[in-house]
C-alpha cells in the first residue's frame, strides 16, 4: 500500500465520521445526561471533587500548580517523590496510582512480583498509550486499572474511588459504571444480538429495559452498526464485532475506556477504522482512553505514551500525534 492511498483512505474515513458525528452529537449530549441521572452515583465519588465537566473538551496539560494546593497531602507527597508523571489538577484526575505493587503466589517459594511500584496519573479526557513487550506487566496493570484485580500494595483512586478499600461488590459496580472494556478478542457474548450485547452493562447497572434499548440503538448508530443490531456475534466480521464492543464499552458513559490491544486481531485497514473511532470518542466526547498496545505506531497517535518494562514505567513522553496510516 503506498502512502498516497493510505492518506486518502484515512481522510475518507474521517469524512465519514464527521458526517455521523453531526447526526448524533445532540443525541449524545442528551444521553449522557440521561445516564448520570439514572445511574446511582458511587458513594465515594464526591470524596475527590468531581466538578470538572464530564464530557466537554479539556485544555490539555495547562492547570497544574494553581490546583496543587487543593490536592490531598499524600498526593503532594507523591508528586515530590515521583516527579516523572505529568502533574495535573486533582479534580481532573481519573486514574491516580501510587506505588502499585502486584505479587503473585505470596508466601510461596515461587512468589513473583510483577509490578514493582507503578505511579501513574491519567487526567480526564486524556488519550494515553501503555506500551511494552510481552511480560512487561501491561496486562497486570490493565487488570489493576480495570478493577479486575487488586494491587498487593499501593494506592489507587479511580475517579475518586479508593480501589484498595473497595469490596468485591463495589468492584463490580465500578467496572459497570466507570470502566468500558474493549478487548483484543472482542469478548461479545455469544448467541446474543449486538443490541443485547450493548445493553448488557446497562442491564447490570439496573437501567429499565426501554431506556436500555434506546441508548443501545443510539450507541450502535454511533459506530455505524445500527443496521446489524439484530445480528449475533458469529454473523459479524472482526471489525464489526469490535465496533459493537466499543459501543458496549460506552454504554454506561464510563470515566475511562480501557482498550487492550483493540486492533490486535484485525487487519490494518479495519484496525485503522477502530482507531478512528477511539480518536473520535476522544476528540468529540472528551473520553478518557487508555490504549494498551505493543504497536509503537498506534501509541504515537496518543497524547502520552507510558512505556512499561519488567514491571516498571521506564519512560513517559508525549505522543507525536501523528496518525499511523496502517
Amino acid at each position: 500500500m503506498n502512502t498516497d492511498m493510505k492518506t486518502e483512505m484515512n481522510s475518507k474515513s474521517n469524512i465519514k465520521f464527521k458526517k455521523t458525528n453531526k447526526k448524533n452529537d445532540d443525541d449524545l449530549e442528551l444521553i449522557i445526561e440521561d445516564i448520570t441521572d439514572t445511574a446511582p452515583d458511587l458513594k465515594t465519588e464526591e470524596a475527590v471533587g468531581s466538578s470538572a465537566p464530564k464530557a466537554g473538551k479539556k485544555k490539555k496539560k495547562k492547570k497544574k500548580s494553581e490546583t496543587k494546593e487543593s490536592t490531598p497531602e499524600k498526593e503532594a507527597e507523591v508528586a515530590k517523590d515521583k516527579p516523572h508523571y505529568t502533574e495535573v489538577g486533582v479534580s481532573d484526575i481519573v486514574i491516580d496510582m501510587h506505588g502499585i505493587i502486584k505479587r503473585y503466589f505470596i508466601g510461596q517459594p515461587n512468589e513473583l512480583e510483577v509490578l514493582h511500584g507503578i505511579d501513574m496519573k491519567v487526567r480526564r479526557g486524556e488519550f494515553v498509550a501503555v506500551v511494552g513487550q510481552s511480560g512487561s506487566g501491561k496486562s497486570t496493570l490493565m487488570n489493576m486499572i480495570g478493577a479486575l484485580d487488586r494491587p498487593t500494595e499501593g494506592q489507587y483512586y479511580l475517579d475518586g474511588v479508593d480501589m484498595f478499600a473497595a469490596k468485591d461488590k463495589d468492584l463490580s459496580a465500578i467496572r459497570c459504571k466507570k470502566i468500558g472494556f474493549v478487548f483484543q478478542t472482542y469478548n461479545l457474548v455469544a448467541r446474543t444480538s449486538a443490541l443485547k450485547n450493548v445493553e448488557l452493562p446497562m442491564l447490570y447497572a439496573g437501567m429499565p429495559m426501554s431506556k436500555r434499548s434506546k441508548r443501545a440503538r443510539e450507541l450502535l448508530a454511533m459506530v455505524e452498526m445500527e443496521d446489524r443490531m439484530r445480528h449475533q456475534p458469529d454473523e459479524l466480521s472482526g471489525g464489526q464485532k469490535q465496533r459493537v464492543a466499543i459501543a458496549r464499552a460506552m454504554a454506561n458513559d464510563p470515566a475511562i475506556i480501557l482498550a487492550d490491544e483493540p486492533t490486535g486481531a484485525l487487519d490494518s485497514q479495519t484496525g485503522r477504522l477502530i482507531m478512528d473511532i477511539f480518536h473520535r470518542l476522544h476528540d468529540e466526547q472528551g473520553k478518557t482512553i487508555i490504549l494498551i498496545t505493543h504497536s509503537p505506531e498506534l501509541a504515537e497517535e496518543c497524547e502520552r505514551i507510558l512505556t512499561l518494562k519488567d514491571g516498571n514505567i521506564i519512560n513517559e513522553r508525549k505522543g507525536s500525534g501523528k496518525v499511523a496510516v496502517s
Binding site: L148, A173, A190, P201, Y204
Partner: protein, 429 residues
C-alpha cells in the same frame, strides 16, 4: 429486575443445545413421569374401589362372630396362629339368633333402616341337557336386596307371604337365565329348577323361579361369564327349614342417613356383647364399610407413596445429570462469565443466572414429565379398567419438586461460576 432477562437467557441456553438439554431432562422426565403415572393409577384404583364399596353401601355395619383367641393357648404355644389351627365351627349356641337381631332393632329404632340376613345352603352346578350354571344357593331376608343394591331385571321379588311361609320360590341371575334358558326371561319365570347338592349331606331341592336380577360384574373375574358362579336367592325361612340352622354367623345393618356408621358399630357391639361376654369360644365383632373403605384407601395410598418414593430416587439421579451438564455449560462459557463480570455483573447476578438456567431445565423437564406421566397413567388406568383420575396435588407437587431439584443441583455449578476470578475467566481458552 433481572428475572425476565435471566429467564430469557435460560431458555436461549436450553434451545441452543436442544439435544443435550433433552438428554439432560430425560432423567427428570422419567422421574416425574413415573411418579405422576403411579399416583394417577393409584388414585384411579382408590376411586373405583371407593365408589364400588359405596355402591355396596358405605353406611352398612357388619356384625359377626369371631372365634376368641384363647390367651392361655397363645401363652402356651407362643404363637398366635396356633389358635386358627384349632378353629372350631360355632355351635348352635354361639350363633346370632333371630331374637338377638329383633332385640337390636328394637333398641336402635332411630338408627337402623333395615337388616340384611342370609343363610347359605351350599354351592353346586345346575345341569339340564347340555346347559349348566354354577350357583350358590342362599336364603335371604328382604333387607338383603336393599343392602346389596340388587336390581331386578324381570319378574317380581319374593313376596312377603313367601318369606313368612318359607315357600319354595327363588330369584336367579340374568347370567343363569343366559346359561339355562338362552337369555329368555319369560321362559325362565315360572319354571322349576332342580338343585342337587352333592357331598356328604346329599340333598335335592326344587324351586320355582319368580324373578331375575341383574348380575353385577365383579372387578377381578377369574372365570368366563358362562362359568361364573351366581347366587340363587330363596326366602330365608325356606333356607332355615332346609339346613336346620338355629342362627347366623353374621348379618348386615343398614343405618339411616345421617348416622355415623363407625360410631354406631361401637354401640352395636356394646349392645350385642350382653349375649357374648360369657361365651368362651366366640366373641362379637362389628365393623362399618366406611372404615373398611378408609382402611383400604389408606393402604393403597401407602403403596403408591412407597412406589413414588422409589420413582423419586430417579429424580435425584436426574438432578445429578442436571448438575453435571451445568458444570459442562459453565466451563464452556467461562469467557462469557469473565466478560459479564468485566461488564459489571456481580457474583450474585452470575449465580442467579445459572441457577435460573438449571431451574428452567428442570421445570421444562418436569412439565414434559407430567405430560408423560398423565398419558402413561391414563393408559395404565384404562388397562386395569378404571377411569383415569389424576390428582392436581401431585401435579403441583411435581412442579415444585422439579424446581427444587433445579435449585438444589444448580446451586453448586452456579456458585462455581459466580466465584470465578474475572481475569482467569477472561483469559480462559
Amino acid at each position: 429486575m433481572l428475572f425476565l432477562e435471566n429467564l430469557l437467557l435460560a431458555f436461549t441456553a436450553l434451545l441452543t443445545n436442544k439435544m443435550r438439554s433433552l438428554l439432560t431432562m430425560l432423567g427428570i422426565i422419567i422421574g416425574i413421569g413415573s411418579v405422576i403415572a403411579i399416583v394417577t393409577v393409584g388414585n384411579s384404583l382408590t376411586n373405583s374401589i371407593t365408589s364400588e364399596m359405596e355402591g355396596m353401601g358405605a353406611n352398612n355395619v357388619i356384625v359377626g362372630i369371631q372365634q376368641r383367641e384363647s390367651e392361655d393357648e397363645v401363652k402356651e404355644t407362643g404363637m398366635r396362629y396356633e389358635a386358627y389351627y384349632r378353629r372350631k365351627s360355632p355351635s348352635d349356641d354361639d350363633l346370632i339368633t333371630k331374637d338377638m337381631i329383633k332385640a337390636l332393632i328394637a333398641e336402635f329404632p332411630d338408627d337402623i333402616e333395615d337388616v340384611s340376613v342370609e343363610s347359605g345352603l351350599g354351592e353346586t352346578r345346575v345341569e339340564k341337557g347340555r346347559n349348566y350354571a354354577n350357583i350358590s344357593l342362599m336364603g335371604v331376608n328382604p333387607g338383603y336386596f336393599k343392602a346389596n343394591n340388587i336390581e331386578m331385571s324381570a319378574g317380581s321379588m319374593i313376596s312377603e307371604r313367601a318369606y313368612e311361609a318359607g315357600k319354595a320360590v327363588c330369584i336367579v341371575s340374568d347370567r343363569f337365565v343366559n346359561n339355562m334358558f338362552g337369555g329368555d326371561n319369560s321362559k325362565a319365570i315360572g319354571h322349576d329348577i332342580e338343585i342337587e347338592m352333592s357331598g356328604s349331606s346329599h340333598k335335592y331341592y326344587v324351586f320355582t323361579i319368580v324373578g331375575v336380577y341383574t348380575y353385577k360384574t365383579e372387578q377381578f373375574e377369574m372365570t368366563s361369564a358362562k362359568d361364573s358362579q351366581t347366587f340363587v336367592y330363596i326366602p330365608l325361612n325356606t333356607a332355615l327349614k332346609k339346613n336346620h340352622a338355629k342362627g347366623f354367623t353374621d348379618f348386615t345393618i343398614m343405618t339411616k342417613t345421617g348416622v355415623d356408621s363407625d360410631e354406631f358399630a361401637t354401640r352395636v357391639k356394646g349392645f350385642m356383647n350382653r349375649y357374648y361376654h360369657n361365651n368362651k369360644d366366640f366373641t362379637l365383632v362389628t365393623f362399618s364399610l366406611a372404615s373398611m373403605v378408609s382402611a383400604m384407601t389408606s393402604m393403597l395410598g401407602t403403596v403408591s407413596t412407597a412406589i413414588s418414593i422409589v420413582a423419586a430416587i430417579s429424580l435425584v439421579v436426574g438432578g445429578i445429570g442436571v448438575m453435571n451438564i451445568m458444570l459442562v455449560s459453565i466451563s464452556e462459557r467461562t469467557r462469557e462469565i469473565g466478560t459479564r463480570k468485566a461488564l459489571g455483573a456481580t457474583n450474585g447476578s452470575i449465580r442467579v443466572q445459572f441457577i435460573m438456567e438449571s431451574i428452567v431445565l428442570c421445570l421444562v423437564g418436569g412439565i414434559l414429565g407430567i405430560l408423560v406421566g398423565l398419558i402413561g397413567g391414563s393408559i395404565g388406568a384404562k388397562a386395569l379398567g378404571y377411569a383415569a383420575s389424576p390428582t392436581p396435588g401431585s401435579i403441583i407437587g411435581a412442579l415444585l419438586f422439579s424446581m427444587a431439584v433445579g435449585v438444589f443441583f444448580g446451586f453448586y455449578p452456579a456458585n462455581k461460576a459466580a466465584k470465578m476470578n474475572p481475569i482467569d475467566a477472561l483469559r480462559y481458552e
